[in-house]
């Protein structure tokens, strides 16, 4: 399964090569042209000669992770987050360090040796270390360089009836959906961007949009599902198994109403469930794309994911199939003259 490969690949922001290579291999023969830009975005076009306005689909390749920022004299590695990670979720997790994929663990002081005040508080970044089994700085330097990227060592696996667990679903699900959509034919030139550096400030996709100048952009994302205990219903951003989530507004964007209405119409006509993302927090590449040049009508559709930005997330494969189907039908229905 391609989603499994994408989920298990390492691609912390600005180090997306492994993901980019997998995507390249899988779309080369389905597109007219394929190129990368100075940022590292992977861009492709299908139906370049077709009449009609350019439509852009975009998903980001990068994931949140860690970076090695120091090596202690005892061979343990210091690290800091790349992107937004809940540091409370890091303790006692295995990780992969650097492009040579060196095994490491994030340990913590044994419970026996903790003071009671320590037990109540999350461990600060400065007290978390990665242990790769080296016992001196000199030895660690044989394997590690400052700036090496670190990702979680989490396997993809189907759970329950129709769910899956894994890492980096944000936003490998978006990448995977776009790869799938390239199998089909459309009435307009379809541009796709697999963007870099979304997790560190929405830095990649906007550059690609600047070059492409699309008439509209649809960003395929993963958003947080909080339909879990200890959270009240009114706090939920989205829920699992209720279909793809449409963003009306978040911190970076007010979605284009025509696009959102078009997707809702398609979903109603085809009995595909959808939900509206209830919170207005977070931001996506759509924010940057929508403000490119004189402005590009943009919208976001997301796959809900529990425990996003942590070592392991949970998605519904039913939602995933709905997401693929909904966007495909929407694009096929798209009135060329509308934008």
């Amino acid at each position: 399964m391609l989603l499994k490969r994408l989920s298990e690949a390492s691609g912390v922001s600005s180090n997306e090569s492994e993901v980019r290579d997998i995507i390249k291999d899988n779309i080369e023969d389905k597109v007219d042209e394929l190129w990368t830009d100075v940022m590292g975005n992977l861009i492709a076009v299908k139906g370049k000669k077709k009449k009609g306005k350019k439509v852009l689909l975009s998903a980001h390749m990068d994931e949140v992770g860690l970076m090695i920022t120091g090596i202690e004299s005892n061979g343990l590695l210091n690290f800091r987050p790349v992107g937004n990670i809940d540091k409370r979720s890091l303790v006692s997790k295995p990780v992969i360090v650097g492009n040579d994929k060196i095994n490491g663990v994030i340990g913590s002081k044994a419970i026996h040796l903790q003071k009671s005040s320590e037990r109540n508080n999350p461990i600060p970044w400065s007290n978390l270390y990665i242990d790769i089994g080296t016992s001196s700085k000199k030895e660690a330097k044989k394997y590690i360089e400052l700036g090496d990227f670190v990702s979680f060592k989490t396997k993809f696996k189907q759970l329950g009836i129709n769910h899956a667990k894994g890492k980096a679903f944000d936003d490998r699900v978006g990448c995977s959906v776009i790869i799938d959509l390239l199998k089909y034919e459309y009435d307009f030139p379809l541009y796709v961007v697999f963007s870099v550096q979304e997790e560190v400030g929405l830095r990649g996709a906007g550059r690609a949009a600047f070059d492409i100048e699309p008439s509209m952009a649809l960003i395929i994302e993963s958003t947080s599902a909080s339909d879990v205990p200890e959270s009240e219903d009114y706090e939920f951003s989205s829920s699992l198994d209720k279909g793809p989530a449409l963003t009306i507004m978040d911190k970076s964007l007010i979605s284009n109403k025509k696009i959102i209405q078009g997707i809702i119409n398609t979903s109603k006509q085809n009995d595909i469930p959808y939900q509206i993302k209830k919170s207005n927090t977070g931001g996506t590449d759509a924010g940057e794309i929508s403000l490119t040049k004189e402005g590009i009508p943009s919208a976001v559709i997301s796959l809900p994911s529990r425990y996003i930005h942590s070592p392991v997330s949970l998605i519904s494969l039913k939602d995933y199939d709905y997401l693929k189907k909904l966007i495909k039908l929407y694009l096929q229905d798209l009135n060329k003259g509308e934008f």
């Binding site: 295995p94 095994n103 340990g107 242990d131 205990p229």
Partner: protein
């Protein structure tokens, strides 16, 4: 079997305190070629015995003990949406559980993820605190009705973690406390097959250590040894811990010293290590609690006891880390010690 392969198998096998049978079966099979007799007692302790080489010498009994149980969790309730609440068995640090994958051992094994309220919904006060055990839950992604067919309250839950190789013969995984100790006993038995000894050696994989050193009680009673040596793990040097509370990693097994250790055994073991050049460290520990020696020492009329420990980082997490080199050196040291025991030494243990 190769030591690391044995440890990987043990680490990835599940056996919370009181539920060690799967482990006992594996250990029995692996010890069998090196043992003369293998027995299990009613609590579940597994004892592999190797008789003294010469029948006339068959008067000294020496017990080695390493516990095979692990800490874990237990199902406490299942809510209407199918989320499972749990309690701990043994000393689990709730801070290590967030985003942890687990296996619930119901009628069949079910994988789940430990979650808590999303960090994006926490207010400042909440996010500055670590989550308490009663705020955590397991998400199996199954509906309540389905879960209730498979899982009942009281079912055991283990942490899902693959054994990993690190650099320098370091390895990491769950329950190395104290399955690494079982592997040290195994290394000792392998080593003893090249040596002559005047001692009946009983290697016990004990049960229920993590909930109050219970298995060591009954197994010591049964064996009634002259000498009882527990093999367990001790804290390896970790950031943020005072130096005097830890030993160094990869610098040899730690020979413990304290009220739980007979001084003659301590001295002899140290001098043997010096003589034949086995690396070792001393672990001074002022209180006798914390390992099987707590029980071994005060069984029946008292047993001369000692403790050999494997330096281990991140104790009671799913990424416990040790060096295989320390396990190997410890096994050799135990075997060399056993080969040098005679009745004079045992007599001397009573003379103060």
């Amino acid at each position: 079997m190769e030591n690391k392969k044995f440890l990987k198998t043990l680490s990835e096998t599940n056996g919370i305190s009181g539920y060690e049978k799967n482990l006992a079966d594996i250990i029995e099979e692996v010890f069998e070629p090196y043992s003369d007799k293998i027995t299990k007692d009613s609590l579940g302790n597994l004892t592999a015995t190797k008789w003294a080489d010469n029948k006339q010498d068959d008067t000294i009994d020496l017990m080695l003990a390493a516990h095979m149980d692990e800490i874990g969790l237990m199902v406490k309730s299942i809510d209407d949406k199918g989320f499972i609440r749990f309690t701990n068995i043994g000393g689990v640090d709730p801070r290590t559980l967030l985003a942890q994958e687990v296996i619930i051992h119901g009628k069949e094994d079910i994988i789940g993820i430990i979650g808590t309220k999303s960090p994006y919904l926490l207010n400042n006060k909440e996010s500055s605190k670590s989550p308490k055990l009663n705020k955590l839950y397991i998400d199996t992604s199954l509906k309540k009705e389905k879960i209730e067919e498979i899982i009942t309250i009281g079912d055991m839950i283990t942490l899902k973690r693959e054994f990993m190789n690190l650099k320098n013969e370091y390895v990491s995984g769950k329950a190395l406390d104290d399955r690494a100790g079982v592997v040290m006993l195994y290394e000792c038995f392998k080593e003893l097959s090249y040596l002559k000894s005047k001692v009946n050696v009983h290697a016990v994989a004990t049960v229920q250590e993590e909930v109050g050193v219970r298995g060591a009680n009954t197994s010591t009673y049964n064996i009634d040894p002259d000498i009882g040596i527990a093999v367990d793990v001790c804290h390896g040097d970790m950031p943020g811990v005072e130096n005097d509370l830890v030993v160094e990693m990869n610098k040899g097994p730690a020979i413990a010293f304290g009220p739980h250790v007979h001084q003659n055994i301590f001295k002899k073991m140290k001098s043997i290590a010096e003589d034949i050049g086995i690396p070792y460290q001393v672990e001074p520990w002022p209180h006798p609690a914390g390992t099987d020696t707590w029980a071994i020492q005060i069984t029946k009329s008292g047993v001369a006891s000692a403790l050999v420990s494997i330096p281990l980082r991140y104790m009671h997490t799913s990424v416990e880390t040790i060096s295989m080199k320390d396990v190997r050196s410890g096994g050799k040291l135990l075997a060399q010690f056993i080969a040098r025991i005679d009745s004079d030494f045992v007599e001397g243990l009573r003379c103060y």
